[in-house]
């Protein structure tokens, strides 16, 4: 496995992806703009994983088969450590972002079960963090959920006032999965550090896209958000704050997480980390990334009825969250899907009762605007012509939906 500037392989996801819908008239190539949900494997990641299928030892076995497997894991660990600017020993491989966040929050809670205490998080976190925090509240801890401003950001001053001597953990994300809004991570983590409180950053949406130089605390990342495989991630532990283990058994991962390692997944995560690091270091790629993002945002915001929910400044370029006034986001997602465009609605709705996104509501958006939200998210594989095409198909779809329901604003 070599550090590859894998974005050379950019072909659009069309070549490597799930089939576009087989029904409806539109059978053109798929347009995948749901990269915040998950990303396709890079060719170099696939190659690394395919090659690793030859190696099958249990990394804990002392014989030669075990050594070969352990070497692959060490190699991957080194790549992840470089990406996260930490020591390899600080990388704990796990099954992804939800496990990472749960292991820190629940693990901290269980460690302090007898003495109790206080947790802090924000109103715009991913359910992995919010649900885990609600669970520690059920365990008897107090929980403060910090509000956000109109851009979705937590005020470090507010964190300062809410911190208590018995605060066990502050958990705040790096960038939001629905809007792309960055938190003032360094200011927030400094406030926690100065109070001597462990800090956890859910960096699932930024790992592989942004530098994360957090010098202290816990960082959660997930491979499938930056072209690695699904079901594998890492927790970076840059603190001596104690955690209760949640998964018991052997002493894998420096005795922090038991279970025979997900060898292929870890190899894929390592390869994805290597490729991500190369992109981060390449000014051309960084320029391209921002110009794709700008083009997407400009195109979508020019559509009649569109209002952009992602903040203008301090936002992941890959994420454009936009509401179409008077329309329903879930409907737009379904119609676009039938037309070969994969996007997501802000709300994770699986029923006839779409719930408006807790993130957009926390930002102060009215419920019907939140219900009209659609998230478009690009990746390093997204091409310029795909951006133009997605804007055009979205424009047509939105126009059709407005025609089906009188006019903007009457809904």
């Amino acid at each position: 496995m070599h550090l590859q500037t894998t974005y050379e392989h950019r072909k659009g996801v069309n070549d490597v992806t799930c089939p576009p819908p087989q029904r409806g008239r539109e059978r053109g190539p798929a347009l995948y703009f749901d990269n915040n949900a998950t990303t396709p494997l890079l060719p170099s990641v696939r190659a690394a994983m395919s090659e690793a299928m030859e190696t099958f030892g249990n990394p804990s076995s002392v014989h030669f088969c075990g050594e070969a497997a352990a070497a692959l894991i060490d190699h991957a660990r080194a790549f992840v450590a470089v990406l996260l600017a930490c020591d390899p020993e600080q990388v704990v491989f796990n099954s992804g972002g939800s496990e990472g966040a749960s292991s820190v929050i629940v693990g901290t809670g269980l460690y302090h079960l007898r003495d109790g205490g206080h947790f802090i998080t924000s109103a715009v976190e991913h359910p992995a963090v919010l649900r885990a925090c609600e669970f520690v509240r059920e365990l008897g801890f107090e929980l403060s959920v910090l509000p956000v401003d109109g851009a979705g950001r937590v005020d470090p001053g507010t964190l300062q006032t809410v911190l208590r001597p018995d605060t066990r953990l502050v958990s705040i994300m790096h960038a939001n999965n629905e809007t792309g809004a960055f938190q003032p991570l360094y200011a927030l983590s400094r406030v926690a550090r100065e109070a001597g409180v462990p800090f956890h950053c859910d960096a699932v949406q930024t790992a592989g896209k942004e530098r994360i130089g957090l010098a202290e605390g816990f960082v959660t990342i997930s491979g499938h958000k930056f072209h690695g495989p699904k079901g594998v991630g890492a927790l970076v532990v840059r603190t001596d704050a104690p955690l209760q283990k949640l998964i018991f058994g052997g002493e894998q991962e420096h005795d922090r997480r038991a279970g025979t390692e997900n060898l292929l997944g870890i190899v894929g995560l390592g390869a994805a980390a290597g490729a991500a690091r190369a992109r981060l270091e390449d000014p051309n790629e960084q320029f391209r990334r921002k110009s794709i993002g700008d083009r997407l945002r400009a195109g979508l915001s020019s559509i009649h009825g569109a209002v952009v929910n992602s903040p203008t400044e301090g936002c992941l370029p890959e994420t454009v969250n936009v509401s179409f006034e008077g329309l329903r986001g879930d409907t737009i997602v379904d119609v676009l899907s039938a037309r070969g465009v994969a996007v997501s609605s802000g709300s994770a709705c699986h029923s006839a009762h779409p719930d408006p996104s807790h993130v957009l509501l926390a930002m102060g958006l009215p419920a019907d605007r939140a219900l009209g939200a659609v998230r478009f998210s690009s990746s390093c594989l997204t091409r310029r012509d795909e951006v133009d095409e997605v804007v055009e198909i979205t424009e047509q779809t939105v126009r059709q939906l407005y025609a089906t329901w009188r006019s903007v604003g009457t809904a």
Binding site: R328, A338, R339
Partner: protein, 126 residues
């Protein structure tokens, strides 16, 4: 199991009979208080049977598709036919509805029954 039948997909991507008929012979509007979906139908009648129908709708994709299918389907029906339509018939006609989409059939039945009532109402009373 796919979330949408081919029929419903075809109709929500290419809806038929969108809009409002000017001076319709009958019309009906219903709304689902729970999910907020709304359907508005206008029809023209000849010989006691529907000869043209248009819809406007707001809601989930299945509701839009169902409304479009209904406007084509009811052409040729009289008030008695409309009044006999039930959810099972609609569900079958649209090629099936996934769990969580049954409100679409309910809404269609409601709007067709309301339309039947409107058709049966003597013209003058409008």
């Amino acid at each position: 199991m796919a979330r949408f039948s081919d029929e419903i997909i075809e109709h929500f991507t290419h809806p038929k009979n969108v809009g409002e008929l000017p001076e319709p012979d009958a019309d009906a509007s219903v709304a689902d208080p729970v999910c907020g979906d709304q359907v508005h139908l206008t029809v023209r009648v000849g010989d006691g049977r529907i000869c043209e129908a248009r819809f406007l709708a707001h809601g989930c994709a299945a509701a839009l598709g169902t409304a479009s299918i209904v406007t084509a389907w009811i052409v040729g029906m009289g008030p008695e036919d409309l009044a006999r339509v039930d959810e099972a018939t609609v569900t079958q006609r649209v090629g099936g509805l996934a769990p969580g989409q049954s409100h679409c059939a309910r809404l269609a039945v409601e709007v067709l029954h309301a339309l039947a009532d409107d058709l049966r109402t003597p013209q003058g009373s409008e």
